[in-house]
Amino acid sequence: MTTSPGHPATGPATGVARDDSEGMDYLMSLPRRTVTVYLPLLCFLIVLLFPFYWMGLTSVKPNEELIDRSLNPWWVVDPTIAHYFHLIVNTDYPLWMWNTMVVAVSATLLSIVASVMAAYAIVRIRYSGSRWVGGMIFMAYLVPPSILFIPLALVVFQYGLFDSPMALILTYPTILIPFSTWLLMGYFKSIPYELEECALIDGASRWQILTRIVLPLSVPGIISAGIFAFTLCWNEFIYALVFISSSENKTVPVAVLSELVEGDIYHWGPLMAGALLGSVPVCIVYSFFVEHYVSSMTGAVKE
């Protein structure tokens, strides 16, 4: 048999690598870039950061300046750390932070473990109704917590969990698992089938495939699911308000509101100091993992 070089029947199906930045040439000149990139970015930045500026500003204003209308509201003349001092020494604030941390970390871990297994089973194990189960899990995410808290409160009472951190650790996953599962399902789907089949032939068990092939490749997806879960736990308000009553068990979002507002008196200084300090841990978490977070949202597993 002769092969005729270059004849169509034996010809290659060559893919030409292309740069996706084509069509972005308008970003090359500075004035254009200013208008199309920097200006909108600046607007975003102002809108996003203003609440933090206001929180920070209020938290360092002495009480006299806070109520004096003759002064410039955008600035502080005589900054003080009295509010922070009051918050940390005279209230249970450190305890609230600790409670929030314990609840958020435990609920997040619990949810991620459950989600990883659920998502993997739905995506990769062939059984009838796997698609249906996946759909139902996502539907569960659409049920608003403000409706669920009434039946959940009954459950919490029945099990004697009321006013304990376990009430929150066990109820938060009802919100977290559906979304994390759904997010991880998308991530697991992007891992080529062949990798797992190859591992199967190589002699790995299902569990080994999950722990040695799938999980290492899904780290960005797991991190973003974790960040999502952690943030949601940290900020959660309604369950924490309903299921916890004593001050020493409260989480930051509820405690700041219920313990720092007396009747109709708003202690603006400590309130803002509490809110600002409360957002620090989430910021730290984000700053560590932001690159993974972005890559899991924009890209899949690269071979």
Binding site: M1, L195, C198, I201
Partner: protein
């Protein structure tokens, strides 16, 4: 090393019958290629041998063991995938060692085997790299290395070369052939490329729509195709076909259509006899056509209208029309002809093929 036996193998997906009654015996140390157009069931067959796809009915034996219910890891096979399926988060060394680690081999033995395999494939310098730092050809080698270190009874290849560019594909094809020579492991190779099938296979299995069309060594498929499909699939460019009527004229048989009238060679007159007066398909390969000369019998010549001239350097392909049918003729590069000319072509009567017009089986 072992033989592989497929007995009456069938695969049904919900409504789709993908593999139909496949019977095949693959000898120990043999290199068998499954070839066919996409959707012909070749990959499904391979995946059933690997244990990645459940068998609907029939039996698969590796060695003397029925492996129908055996999980892939216990079948002692190694598979090379089209997209290489290298573990992206592991180095080349770890990729190759993974299968051995899973089987609890000792560290020293793993190192020894990885060393041997990387020597064979010339990838010693790449062992510490990650797959994304490798070129396509290097990845392919690593995928091969991962199969070699396992020293399995059977190699399974699922279109391993189709992600490579044309030049590299030809080079890897040769290396695969050498590798098989050296290791002697039984191999089952799936491809849609008939050139790959012909060059690599000790035997080639042509499949279409789930059926095995023909099994044979490459030249047998080329010289004696069992039906019109195999005849058209094997060879490049493919065989020319013309719808003809078989006419009897005394003792002789003629295959005729409005553009040509060809005398059937004596050797096959008896076989073709029962078909006289009926429609049939005449087949002739492009390389069995030539420009008619004085030595050619008038009964084997016909006029052709040149439509396209493809100059490939080593040969010229003439796309011609002969009455209602179009044909390709492969002629030496010295032939001078232009488009829209009419030339006289002759065919090699020994190389004529006839196929039943309805069943498409060779006559």
């Amino acid at each position: 090393m072992a033989r592989v036996l497929l007995r009456n193998l069938n695969k049904h997906y919900e409504t789709f019958h993908a593999v139909k009654d496949v019977d095949l015996e693959i000898q120990d140390r043999e290199f068998v290629v499954l070839v066919g157009p996409s959707g012909c069931g070749k990959t499904t067959t391979l995946r059933m041998i690997a244990g990645l796809e459940a068998i609907t009915s029939g039996e698969i034996l590796i060695g003397d063991t029925v492996v129908n219910e055996m999980p892939p890891m216990d079948r002692d096979i190694a598979m090379v995938f089209q997209n290489y399926a290298l573990y992206p988060h592991m180095s080349v060394r770890d990729n190759m060692a993974f299968g051995l680690k899973m089987r609890k081999f000792e560290r020293a033995e793993i190192d020894r085997r990885v060393k041997i395999a990387s020597d064979i494939l010339g990838i010693e310098a790449l062992l510490h790299r990650k797959p994304r730092q490798l070129s396509g050809g290097q990845r392919q080698r690593v995928a091969l290395g991962r199969a070699i270190v396992r020293n399995p009874q059977v190699f399974l290849f699922d279109e391993p070369l189709s992600n490579l560019d044309a030049k590299l594909r030809v080079q890897m094809r040769v290396e695969l052939k050498k590798l098989h020579e050296r290791l002697g492991t039984t191999a089952v190779y799936v491809t849609h490329d008939q050139v790959e099938a012909m060059t690599l296979g000790d035997r080639v299995v042509v499949m279409k729509d789930g059926w095995v069309q023909q099994v044979g060594d490459p030249l047998e498929l080329y010289n004696n195709p069992a039906n019109k499909f195999v005849a058209g699939f094997i060879g490049s460019p493919g065989m020319n076909f013309a719808a003809v009527t078989i006419e009897r004229d005394g003792d002789a048989l003629w295959a005729a259509n409005p553009g040509m009238r060809v005398r059937v060679p004596d050797a096959i007159v008896t076989r073709l006899g029962p078909h006289s007066g009926r429609a049939a398909t005449l087949g002739i390969r492009p390389e069995d056509l030539h420009i008619a000369g004085p030595a050619d019998d008038a009964g084997h010549c016909f006029d052709a209208h040149v439509e396209v001239v493809e100059r490939l350097g080593s040969e010229i392909l003439l796309d011609v029309s002969v009455g209602p049918s179009s044909m390709v003729a492969s002629v030496p590069p010295t032939v001078r002809t232009k488009m829209h000319e009419t030339i006289r072509l002759a065919l090699d009567p020994e190389r004529l093929h006839f196929f039943d017009a309805e069943t498409e089986a060779a006559i």
